[in-house]
C-alpha cells in the first residue's frame, strides 16, 4: 500500500491524490456523457429509419407499435448508461468522504475499489453499445492509471 501511494504521488505530480482521482472521475464522466450522446443519436436514427413519419404518422397507434421493439432493443444501452453514472457517482462521493475524513483515515482501499468499479461499468457500457453497432471512445489512460495506482480490485 505504501509503495502504491508513493506511485500515486509520483503520477499525480503537483496535485493531491484526491485531485488526481477527481480529475480522473471528471474525465470518465465526460467520456460517459459523450457515449450517452452517441446512444441518443443512434437510437434517434434507428427510429427514423425503422419508423419513418411518412409511413407511421405522429400520434398514430402504428407509430407506437413500430417503436415498441426499438425501445426493447435500446433498453440495455440506457441501463448501462445509468449503471455507469451510478458507479461514477459512488467514486466521486467516496472522494468527498476521503476529503472529509482527512489524513490517517483508511479510505484508500474503498476509493480504489470505487474507481475500479466505475471503470468496469464503463467497459460494460462499451460492450453493450458495440453489440448495438455504436462505436464509442475508450477511457483515456489517465483514468485507468488513477485506479491501478491504488491497486483497485
Amino acid at each position: 500500500m505504501i509503495r502504491a501511494l508513493a506511485l500515486v504521488v509520483l503520477l499525480s505530480g503537483c496535485g493531491s491524490v484526491i485531485q488526481t482521482h477527481a480529475r480522473a472521475a471528471a474525465i470518465a464522466s465526460v467520456t460517459t456523457a459523450t457515449a450517452a450522446e452517441l446512444v441518443s443519436d443512434s437510437a434517434r436514427l434507428d427510429a427514423q429509419m425503422t419508423c419513418p413519419h411518412d409511413r407511421y404518422p405522429v400520434g398514430s397507434a402504428a407509430l407506437r407499435e413500430c417503436l415498441d421493439p426499438l425501445r426493447e432493443r435500446w433498453a440495455p444501452a440506457d441501463a448501462a448508461v445509468v449503471s455507469t453514472r451510478a458507479a461514477l457517482g459512488i467514486w466521486v462521493e467516496s472522494l468527498e468522504l476521503a476529503r472529509i475524513a482527512g489524513d490517517g483515515a483508511d479510505l484508500w482501499r474503498p476509493l480504489a475499489t470505487a474507481a475500479a468499479r466505475a471503470i468496469r461499468a464503463y467497459q460494460a457500457l462499451v460492450a453493450v453499445l458495440q453489440a448495438l453497432g455504436v462505436d464509442v471512445p475508450l477511457l483515456p489512460a489517465v483514468v485507468v492509471s488513477a485506479a491501478d495506482a491504488l491497486g483497485g480490485e
Partner: protein
C-alpha cells in the same frame, strides 16, 4: 456517426476541461473544488438517452 466524429466530440469535451485540469495540476483548485467539478460532470450524464430520443421521434420533435 463515424469514429472521426466521436474523436472530435471527445477532444472538444476534453479541451473544455483542460484549462480547469491544468489549474488543478498546479494546485490552484482545492480538493473540494476538484470534487465539485467531478460531481458536476457525472450529474451531467443523461439517464435515459435512448428512450428520450425514441420518445422525441414518437412526438415528432426535431
Amino acid at each position: 456517426m463515424g469514429t472521426e466524429a466521436v474523436v472530435m466530440m471527445l477532444l472538444k469535451a476534453i479541451s473544455e476541461l483542460v484549462p480547469g485540469l491544468l489549474k488543478a495540476m498546479t494546485g490552484t483548485y482545492s480538493d473540494e473544488q476538484a470534487i465539485e467539478r467531478a460531481r458536476a460532470a457525472y450529474r451531467a450524464i443523461p439517464t435515459s438517452p435512448a428512450a428520450s430520443a425514441i420518445d422525441a421521434h414518437e412526438k415528432g420533435e426535431p
